[in-house]
């Protein structure tokens, strides 16, 4: 009797509490007003005047060459401005994805971060008022004139985070990026195969390589992101740049259109015929790369951020190519630029942050990048590596895609959940769990619900 009375009493208490908490909805007033984040204070280049400053920088530059470059540039900046100390937090791409959002909304966010372009990351950061527009610094440091328009636009968003590639500038990028095919010159020349330029030539070479007993494509997808790359370059070479561009920026098209399905068919075919590493879903990208470096495979699909690692591993035998559509002479492939260097609205030293960003992306920095085996977004004017070398290949391809606008954005930019949807989907595709039609239908479902909700 007493017991049930007590129970009833506590139940009533719980209900009252519950009602009280439901009165206020989550979110809303806690975030800063996006409009207020536009700066009113005048900007300055004077770093020394800022006094003792600790700049917290979050970057994703963990791959060999760019890691070296970043360390060198940081040291040089600290040497130039002894009053500034840089605290560097370097994280892998997947780890940065999961921790950056939390870091940006914390009480003491970092000053400078590398933010991934597109709707999922930069778009949501901008709509949450977490990034500071950099147009004023762009004028101050002349970034407007230094970078090609296409590269700057990739880092633009309207202040509400709804429209990509227009509006305010939220960052500039250090490196250019192309996703392409690293190939083993010696293997191809031994087999009498010319370096393929189109998707058709590429596919024709695969059975020849397999017949000789070698693995055609060293592919490891346990981290899930390589799947987006292999599909991206195949789709780009089949559909052409305009179609993919329209699709990713949500202007027109559907993922179930014929070119996208064809690309999925090709990839599944490669897996079924043993052209890809066996059990790729359990192999890490680094392991696949190691196999390629050891001469066990002819091709490895990866980005120019691996330039230094491949060069170290395979040396003079390494080459790089970007595929184009059949019948075309210019490449069409996934790429763009490295993650954008952005300043957070919570930073107390935006001037120092901007000076740092300029320091690590300007012409001198570009030379450091080249020296450590990277592709800068704006290569130095006198950069003319020898043709027939890996570096030469990369330089030639960068020029070629720039001239023909042959770069399409990374596919995971398309929707906030596209990274998960596509990376999981490609794993299922290569394992034969989905038909190409089912795969593209899965993509379209995610995409469709995002587009209709905008």
């Amino acid at each position: 009797m007493r017991r049930s009375q007590q129970l009833a009493g506590s139940l009533a208490l719980a209900c009252a509490l519950a009602l009280a908490t439901t009165a206020c909805a989550p979110g809303g007033s806690t975030t800063s007003d996006p409009a207020a984040s536009s700066t009113a204070a005048p900007v300055s280049k004077d770093v020394a005047a800022a006094g003792d400053v600790t700049l917290t920088v979050w970057d994703q530059n963990t791959d060999g060459g760019i890691d070296d470059a970043q360390a060198k540039l940081n040291a040089a900046f600290e040497a130039k401005y002894p009053n500034v100390k840089i605290t560097r937090v370097s994280r892998s791409f997947a780890d940065l994805k999961t921790t950056l959002k939390l870091a940006l909304t914390s009480k003491t966010p970092p000053d400078v971060v590398q933010a991934n372009q597109g709707y999922p990351d930069m778009g949501s950061f901008v709509s949450g008022g977490l990034l500071r527009p950099e147009d004023d610094y762009a004028k101050l440091y002349g970034w407007d004139g230094y970078y090609p328009k296409q590269l700057l636009d990739l880092n633009r968003f309207t202040p509400d985070g709804k429209d990509w590639q227009s509006g305010n500038l939220y960052g500039v990028s250090q490196t250019g990026e192309i996703v392409g095919v690293y190939y083993n010159r010696k293997v191809l020349s031994d087999l009498g195969i010319a370096a393929p330029k189109t998707i058709g030539e590429f596919e024709a070479s695969l059975p020849k390589i397999k017949a000789s007993g070698l693995l055609p494509i060293a592919y490891g997808d346990v981290e899930k992101s390589p799947g987006i790359h292999i599909y991206g370059i195949t789709q780009a070479a089949v559909a052409g740049s305009q179609a993919v561009e329209d699709l990713v920026t949500a202007k027109s098209g559907a993922w179930t259109d014929a070119p996208s399905v064809t690309a999925a068919q090709k990839i599944q075919g490669w897996a079924q015929q043993g052209y890809l590493t066996q059990g790729a879903n359990g192999i890490s990208r680094d392991d696949a790369l190691a196999d390629f470096d050891a001469g066990k495979a002819a091709y490895h699909i990866d980005g120019t951020w691996q330039l230094a690692t491949v060069s170290k591993g395979l040396g003079a035998d390494a080459g790089f190519l970007a595929l184009g559509p059949d019948g075309s002479s210019t490449p069409v492939t996934t790429g763009g630029e490295g993650l954008a260097w952005a300043i957070t609205t919570g930073s107390k030293h935006p001037d120092v942050a901007a000076a740092y960003i300029d320091f690590i992306t300007n012409a001198e920095a570009a030379q450091v990048l080249v020296d450590t085996g990277n592709l800068p977004a704006v290569p130095p004017a006198d950069w003319a590596p020898k043709s027939g070398t890996l570096e030469g290949d990369v330089a030639e391809q960068w020029k070629a895609v720039g001239a023909s606008s042959g770069l399409v954005p990374y596919l995971d930019y398309a929707t906030p959940t596209f990274y998960d949807t596509m990376s999981a989907g490609v794993q299922q595709l290569t394992a034969g769990k989905l038909t190409p039609e089912e795969f593209t239908a899965q993509l379209q479902k995610d995409y469709g619900s995002f587009v209709s909700s905008r």
């Binding site: 439901t22 979110g27 939390l102 949501s124 346990v222 059990g279 879903n281 359990g282 998960d420 794993q427």
Partner: protein, 320 residues
């Protein structure tokens, strides 16, 4: 001085002891009749902490599940829509299915295996050297889950222990990257749970068996009871309490699994190892679907509470 008088040698019922005894029964009215409000002071610090950091947020999770929110801007009320979506979403449904599979590996297999083993060796309980075995068997439970996960990633790697053993026994054709294969990833994660749980259950059941009065077993043996009968009629009932503990610990561990999946597979390959706890985390903090994440958390919690309540029914009644 006074204590001497209250010792057992104290005088008759009118002595201090008697009054103390009487005091105890009427002390109940002192302790039980008149409530001691200062008790609230004793429990206040703990309960304030508990309420602020656990209780209220738990209620808020239910509240969040009724909204759509990306964690950054404003939220919109959607009622039970998140729950409806949960039922409709194949990925989320399968995550609960995967949790059920893990319960099998984490809980059913270890408990059954440990019972069988206990049956085999129950007559040998109390042998010298037991504590060494106990220490070793229990060791996996003490190691941080992140370390366990990185250890097993190495074991399941193409050149890892698992494939080494297969090659050793001539089954080299079966080798593969276990965590990357759609068919084997979930069982592979499950096996880690089996490894974690078997030692625990064995230790539990052996300690339970050691508490059975040897006379009972002797009597049964003298009556001609075979090993099976002895096990089912004496040992098993005696272990009811331990079985309940084992099931509770392992089932809850299976349903709560997050750390292991985060390190080993991140829900992959594809979505073949995704779990409710991982989905809740991923949706809340990565893809900006906080309301959906909260609904998954609510369903998971309800599941855990229900299952735990069901398991408690196995408990013998005297353990209250």
């Amino acid at each position: 001085m006074a204590t001497q008088v209250t010792g057992p040698q104290a005088g008759g019922p009118q002595g201090r002891l008697g009054r103390a005894r009487a005091g105890r029964t009427s002390g109940r009215s002192r302790q039980g009749g008149r409530p001691q409000y200062k008790a609230y002071l004793y429990i206040a610090p703990a309960f304030v902490l508990f309420a602020v950091f656990l209780g209220v947020p738990a209620l808020q999770t239910a509240q969040y599940s009724l909204y759509r929110w990306n964690g950054l801007g404003a939220s919109t009320w959607v009622g039970l829509q998140n729950y409806a979506d949960l039922v409709r979403d194949a990925t989320l449904r399968s995550s609960f299915g995967h949790a059920a599979v893990l319960v099998l590996f984490y809980s059913a297999v270890p408990v059954l295996l440990a019972l069988v083993l206990t049956a085999l060796i129950s007559r040998g309980a109390g042998l010298p050297g037991m504590s060494v075995f106990r220490t070793l068997l229990f060791l996996p439970q003490v190691v941080a889950s992140v370390v366990v996960a990185t250890t097993w990633v190495a074991i399941y790697s193409p050149d890892g222990l698992s494939n080494q053993l297969l090659r050793l026994v001539g089954l080299g054709s079966l080798t593969r990257a276990w965590l990357g294969d759609f068919g084997t990833a979930l069982p592979a994660v499950g096996l880690i749970g089996t490894w974690l749980g078997t030692g625990l259950c064995l230790v539990l059941f052996l300690s339970g068996v050691a508490n059975i009065a040897p006379e009972l077993l002797e009597a049964a043996r003298m009556d001609g009871a075979g090993a099976v009968a002895e096990f089912t009629s004496i040992v098993l009932p005696a272990l009811r309490g331990q079985i309940a503990v084992a099931l509770t610990l392992t089932v809850v561990a299976a349903l709560k699994t997050f750390d292991l999946v985060y390190i080993t597979t991140r829900g992959g390959p594809g979505t073949s190892t995704t779990l409710p706890a991982f989905e809740a985390y991923n949706r809340a903090f990565n893809t900006g679907q906080v309301g959906s994440a909260a609904s998954v958390a609510v369903v998971l919690t309800a599941l855990i509470l229900v299952v735990t309540a069901l398991i408690q029914r196995i408990q013998p009644d005297e353990v209250a």
